[in-house]
Amino acid sequence: MIDRLNASLNFYQQALNLRDERQKVLSANIANADTPGYQARDFDFRSELDQAVKRGGSTEGNGGLAMATTSSRHIPGQAPGNGSVSNLMYRVPSQPSLDGNTVDMDMERVNFADNAVHYQADLQFITSRLQGLKQAMQPE
């Protein structure tokens, strides 16, 4: 029963996780807008979400070290990787700047606002999903 509940929320959980991660990446871009040589980062949300849903919440394959097991009775362990994003890419600058910085503030602001709204939308979806489940469990 509990794993069913988990499965029904997994998609939203992964989406929210990735939105959070993207928020972090975009914040870092804005923070480094004046750092010489800094290259703006971002990732393709769609493909990352695809992968995350396929992985189904397991931490495997996100760059974390796996524990070596020397006996069949050892419990396999996996260290959490650095974030759930597997393919962090560089933005292609529309205008080169002299100091090698590729942050375009307008673009970052727009992406940031877009991501924040999507994050809220995801929260809203989870809330209504939870409320639906709660309602289904009411005795009347």
């Binding site: 750092t35 980062r41 650095n82 974030g83 962090l88």
Partner: protein, 132 residues
């Protein structure tokens, strides 16, 4: 998400330090002698990305404050006690235009990061009330 606070916070403090240096330059634009007896030299901060080892995203930090090596302004003023043998006074190499531009740029960046911080804060508070 707490990490985002660190990133924006580091940017705020870095930009504030840049603003400090700019204020110091502007204030000393006419200082003919500093503690070492030499005219004041304009200072500039250098930013550097501040990422934890193995991480590809991170905040920003001030890696150093460098002194401008451009020549001092020289002004003919034989009556001035700070004048040299030829009657010239060396004045700081502060470029007021450059400093103003730096100041505006720092203020704008500071504002942008405050906005980022506020947005993230409200998102986080919303996350805490998830499912209610």
């Amino acid at each position: 998400m707490l990490n985002v606070f660190n990133i924006s916070g580091s940017a705020l403090s870095a930009q504030a330090q840049r603003m400090n240096v700019t204020a110091s330059n502007m204030a000393n634009a006419d200082s003919v002698a500093g503690p070492d007896g030499q005219p004041y030299r304009a200072k500039h901060v250098t930013f550097e990305m501040d990422a934890a080892p193995g991480q590809s995203v991170g905040g920003v930090r001030v890696s150093g404050v460098s002194e401008s090596q451009s020549p001092f302004r020289r002004q003919y003023d034989p009556g001035n006690p700070a004048a040299d043998d030829e009657g010239y006074v060396s004045l700081p190499n502060v470029d007021p235009t450059e400093e103003m531009v730096n100041m505006i740029s720092a203020a704008r960046s500071y504002q942008a990061n405050v906005e980022v911080l506020n947005t993230n804060k409200s998102l986080m508070l919303k996350t805490l009330t998830l499912g209610e």
